[in-house]
């Protein structure tokens, strides 16, 4: 019962949408399902927030190592949540000035905008920016041009990196007109338009086939891993 009904829901939900696609009367069902999916995804964020609070409150109450950082997480979480959900400091919209809650929660200059602009954006951008160092150092340690495959990968990365910079344009700027195709900026374009297109197409065809087969396995109940283990 606890596993059979979810399996039925999965199969019916999936196959109804597949069949609905083949009739012009029911094609819009897919769009409705996508909206329902978005709603459940938004509710899943609430679930995620609830879980976050549960885990960090437990860590604080148990006085586990680094519990003070859990406090920082909770303060950041609750501050952002209260300001965002409460539309604190947000003015009404120009269309409906008499409705206090009609303004956009992302209004420029508002507290939620402040949190996005001065906390969320710099923190996430810097996290990703820092990966530049780790990617470079990992590449330096792992990449060795010891066979044709490695040479092709390294060479392409080198040409792409140089070809999109002023240095690349300058390095091969002296080449005569009849060898223009070998200038790094042109070579980059050729690699992207020809070789990269071919490789990406094969990968995308492979991914599509993989998704189709995985979807069928899920819908037919062959793959049940998403239900988790155990009866509870």
């Amino acid at each position: 019962m606890k596993r059979t009904i979810p399996l039925l829901i999965t199969a019916i939900g999936g196959f109804v949408l597949i069949i609905a696609f083949f009739s012009s009367y029911t094609q819009s069902w897919g769009e409705v399902a996508a909206i329902w999916f978005d709603i459940l995804a938004a509710i899943a964020f609430i679930l995620g927030g609830g879980n976050l609070m549960k885990i960090h409150l437990k860590k604080i109450s148990d006085r586990k190592a680094g519990w003070a950082y859990s406090g920082v997480t909770l303060i950041a979480f609750l501050t952002t949540l209260i300001i965002g959900l409460g539309k604190i400091g947000v003015n009404p919209s120009e269309q409906f000035p008499d409705y206090a809650w009609s303004g956009s929660y992302r209004e420029v200059g508002g507290p939620f905008w402040w949190l996005y602009e001065f906390a969320f954006k710099p923190l996430t951008a810097t996290m990703f920016a820092m990966l530049a160092f780790y990617v470079a150092s990992a590449a330096f340690r792992a990449f060795r041009a010891k066979n044709i495959e490695a040479i092709l990968l390294l060479g392409t990365a080198f040409i792409i990196l140089l070809g999109r910079t002023y240095a690349g344009v300058w390095v091969t700027g002296w080449l005569p007109e009849w060898l223009e195709g070998l200038k790094l900026e042109n070579l980059t374009v050729t690699i992207m338009k020809v070789f990269n297109t071919a490789g990406n197409r094969a990968i995308m065809i492979g991914i599509a086939l993989g998704i189709v087969s995985t979807s069928l396995k899920v819908l037919l109940g062959v793959d049940r891993s998403y239900l988790g283990g155990g009866e509870e």
Binding site: G13, I46, F77, V135
Partner: protein, 356 residues
């Protein structure tokens, strides 16, 4: 105290002193705003149910009776006002003060100045991990977890749950509360995702977490169905269609044989077929199949190399943006967009008083 700790402490203190002096003497890291008064009047005819708000002093003909009199004289129930703060540059602030010292349209913004300093410190905290793991990095890391979890919750609530769920199930309530322009009639089919959503939240309860499997099953099933069709259409078929291209290309302008286009098309077709051969594991990669698969690997390696190059470039661009924020917005050491007056843009600012 260890010698290394002493050195680091001195370096940090000197750095902090320079930052404070830079901020105090030059105003580095400060932000300015333009105050725009927002005044509205209701010009609906007496007895009219819906309000008809227009901007005060707008040029609509029939609101003359309200817009010609001082705003304060308009009855309170017919007017609304607040101040909107738009971002402004230092140059605009200085120019407005030079023109009229009492002009307060352009103002120093304490909250945004504080924001720039907070953002700069967070940036440095994250970068400090390049040296080694430390409490500053951990504070920034914990903050990013909390802020981003709440950020996406807020986005989900205001952009999805309110208009697409509450707006469908109880439009009258949403209309009276936050979306006055909502005109949709109730759609009770949306009770289904509401119930599924509540079942999903049941996972937070210590008992009966299996109830959360039902909405999960719905999400998995519908996603599988939509993706199956979508990927066959958009990826599988369209990629094959785009690969069926002429191997002998003709220049449309001259009608002659286009050698380079033909070669490019040939390489694309060979590349796709050989890379697909590599993915085909039902036949042993030996002989002709093995050689074709090897060629496919070469094409894939070029693709991975290009992806790697672009990833590195993207990260370096982000890094450059962060440095630009630190040196331009925070420290005022560079001014690539010419946003500040010349004396604030120069790297020689400490010597400016001497240079005149």
């Amino acid at each position: 105290m260890k010698k290394e700790t002493v050195i680091w402490t001195v370096v940090m203190l000197v750095g902090a002193l320079v930052l404070v002096l830079n901020g105090a003497l030059r105003g580095a890291g400060s932000a300015y705003v333009k105050a725009v008064p927002m005044q509205f009047v209701n010009v609906a005819e007496p007895g009219e149910v819906n309000a008809d708000w227009i901007r005060y002093n707008s040029d609509r003909a029939f609101d003359e009776k309200l817009c010609t009199q001082p705003f304060e004289d308009i009855p309170e129930d017919l007017r609304e006002s607040w101040v909107r703060y738009e971002q402004a540059e230092l140059g605009e602030y200085l120019a407005s003060r030079a023109a009229d010292p009492n002009d307060d349209n352009y103002r120093f913004s304490l909250s945004q100045t504080l924001g720039i300093w907070v953002a700069a410190l967070f940036t440095l905290f994250i970068f400090s991990f390049l040296y080694k793991d430390n409490p500053f990095y951990k504070i920034a890391e914990s903050s990013v977890v909390g802020v981003s979890a709440a950020y996406w919750m807020v986005i989900g609530f205001w952009d999805v749950i309110v208009p697409n769920l509450l707006g469908k199930v109880a439009p009258a309530m949403v209309r009276a509360w936050s979306i006055p322009g909502l005109e949709d009639p109730p759609n009770y089919w949306y009770l289904v995702p509401l119930i599924l959503g509540l079942m999903l939240l049941w996972r937070l309860s210590p008992k009966g977490s299996w109830i959360g499997r039902w909405p999960l099953a719905f999400v998995i099933g519908t996603t599988a169905g939509i993706r199956l069709i979508g990927f066959i259409q958009a990826d599988f078929l369209s990629q094959i269609r785009n690969t069926v291209i002429p191997l002998i290309a003709i220049d449309s302008a001259t009608g002659s044989f286009a050698f380079w286009d033909s070669l490019k098309n040939l390489i694309i077709v060979i590349g796709v077929l050989s890379a697909l051969t590599y993915f085909f594991f039902s036949v042993e990669h030996k002989g002709v199949v093995g050689k074709t698969a090897r060629l496919g690997i070469w094409f894939l390696m070029i693709t991975f190399g290009a992806a790697f190059g672009y990833t590195v470039m993207g990260r370096i661009a982000l890094f450059a943006i962060r440095l630009e924020f630190l040196f331009d917005d925070w420290l005022w050491l560079i001014d690539p967009l010419g946003r500040r007056a010349a004396e604030y843009a120069s790297l020689l600012w400490p010597a400016m008083p001497l240079l005149g």
